[in-house]
Amino acid sequence: MARKFISFVLRCRLENVMALGFSATLLLFFLTTRLFRSFRLNGHDIIFILLPAGILGVKCLLEMLLLSESPDGENLDTGKYLVSFFRPLVKIVRDWFPFLLLSACYYALYTNLMLRVNPHTADAALSKIDATLLGSQASFLLEPWINPWVTDLFNLVYFSYVFSLPVVALYLYLAKEGKVFRRVMMGYLTLMLLGIASYLLVPAIGPAPYFADRFTHDLQGHAISHGVDYIISAGRVNYDCFPSLHVGIPFLLALYLRDYRRKTFIPVLAYVALMCGATIYLRYHYVVDVIASFVYAPVAYRLNDFLLARWPGEKITAISTPDGR
């Protein structure tokens, strides 16, 4: 019986097993500890997963609307007809739901346990490393260069992060590069898991609040900056500095694009460089957070490939999937 169960688990997709494992862990926490207060969908879950899945759902329905009725469809009995109608939608749910569940579980674990696992914030240590590297804080050194237009540009770059993964994932899914899509999504979730584990171990609030009384220049910026700042302050989870996933996720995507769309690699690296500038200039991260993201992203990339290539259910390797099928 146990052998059958293990064999069944090993034949499942890795993301399904992980999603179920994390959901069970979460349920266990809910039932056994008061450390858990709530389970909420985070902005990442909504924008990174639900938004592209929703777009795909709408696209699928519109295609069905425009598609003329096939002679086969006319002859199918009602039950089979309804099954054939819902099948594409069920496939979208089937392909995206494990990623939504995993992402939501990570954030639920993080937001509940943050500062309970480790109440000592690491801002002092991180800023000390920055001071050792640069002689002062990068955000202080950048103060003479503050300009409203630069602030606007960097705010736009910083905000564009929310579209980076959904656009790439949606593109790969629409291009029917299923295995590439899953490799990228699993890579993203591996990086998220590493990042969230790091946030729990090294919670830090970031230079803007930590050095709030020491800045001599406001970042200024026009209406765009105020709007972005408002959205980010409303939506962000606190103590998520080390590493910077704003840099890590685009860098991870750059690594995947190097494998499948080599021509886009350099432009995406340029975008990553801009993102590095934005996170530091806008005082969201220390320099060491940005450096750490260049370590975390390749580690996630390798670790994910290692897991996917060895998972018995469905081996996905980096070399076998240029067309993703």
Binding site: R40, L41, G43, I46, L50, G54, G57, V58, L61, L62, M64, L65, S68, E69, G73, E74, N75, T78, Y81, F85, L89, Y230, I231, A234, G235
Partner: protein
């Protein structure tokens, strides 16, 4: 529509609206395809296909009808809250009433109750707020705050305090509740308590008349008469409501004494 600053509420609202209209689209597309299928289907299956197409069309129409009504209800409730914040109570009441005509909800009932409470019909207002609470199974900070404020203006401190304490759990009302508690303390000559309440905000710029009243009272208690007078003089008395006017007059009399 909620304020974007209230992140959880916004997320929930966006998801609910997206889910609702996606379901509508799903059933509409299915209904259209079933009608097409019915038009082309051979004789023996025709009646069965017609029945299914009718059922799905009715479901799609029902989802569409209720979705639109709920959305309109939310929209008018949002406009109502805008009018309420601008202190246009009759307009706010009309909009909340319109909202509840489209979609009956405990929130709309409570909002109408608050409008009535503040526009001189406290019996009905309190009754509707209580009904909203019963319908919802709990109170909401908006209703708690304004009911608490109403009882405060009537001098019913024992009724007011628990409501204000509950409302202060919401960050939108915390500052106003702090000021009200400081005023209650000042009314009872507990200057030290009022100073304790306001301690974190002593350096804040005075921009509101109730804040001015508290700060001037505390300055006066400290013997800083000129500073108290300077604060009060920023808020011309003709602009104040009768309740505040009498408080300001009393305070000015104390300063000039």
């Amino acid at each position: 529509m909620p304020d974007i600053g209230n992140y959880t509420e916004t997320s929930r609202w966006v998801l609910a609206v997206a889910g609702k209209y996606f379901t509508l689209l799903l059933f509409s597309v299915l209904a259209i395809r079933l009608w097409r299928r019915w038009a082309k289907s051979p004789g023996p299956n025709k009646s069965g296909n017609l029945f299914l197409a009718c059922v799905i069309t009715v479901i799609a129409a029902a989802i569409g009808y209720f979705s639109m009504r709920q959305s309109l209800g939310k929209l008018y409730s949002h406009y109502g809250m805008n009018a309420f914040r601008e202190n246009r109570l009759p307009q706010a009441f009309t909009l909340f009433d319109l909202s509840s005509k489209y979609w009956k909800s405990a929130d709309a009932l409570g909002q109408k109750g608050v409008c009535l409470l503040l526009s001189g019909d406290p019996d009905r207002g309190l009754q509707w707020i209580e009904e909203a609470k019963t319908l919802r199974g709990r109170n909401v900070p908006f209703e708690e705050f304004y009911a608490g404020l109403y009882f405060f203006t009537r001098g019913q401190t024992s009724n007011s305090v628990p409501l204000l304490v509950a409302a202060s759990a919401d960050g939108n009302y915390r500052w106003n509740v702090t000021k009200l508690f400081a005023i209650m303390a000042l009314d009872e000559n507990r200057v030290a308590d009022a100073a304790g309440q306001m301690k974190p905000f002593m350096q804040a710029e005075v921009t509101e008349f109730d804040q001015a009243y508290i700060m001037a009272s505390l300055k006066l208690a400290d013997g800083k008469t000129a500073e108290a007078q300077a604060i009060l003089s920023k808020f011309p008395q003709p602009d104040l409501s009768p309740m505040w006017k009498s408080r300001f007059e009393k305070l000015e009399a104390k300063i000039n004494h």
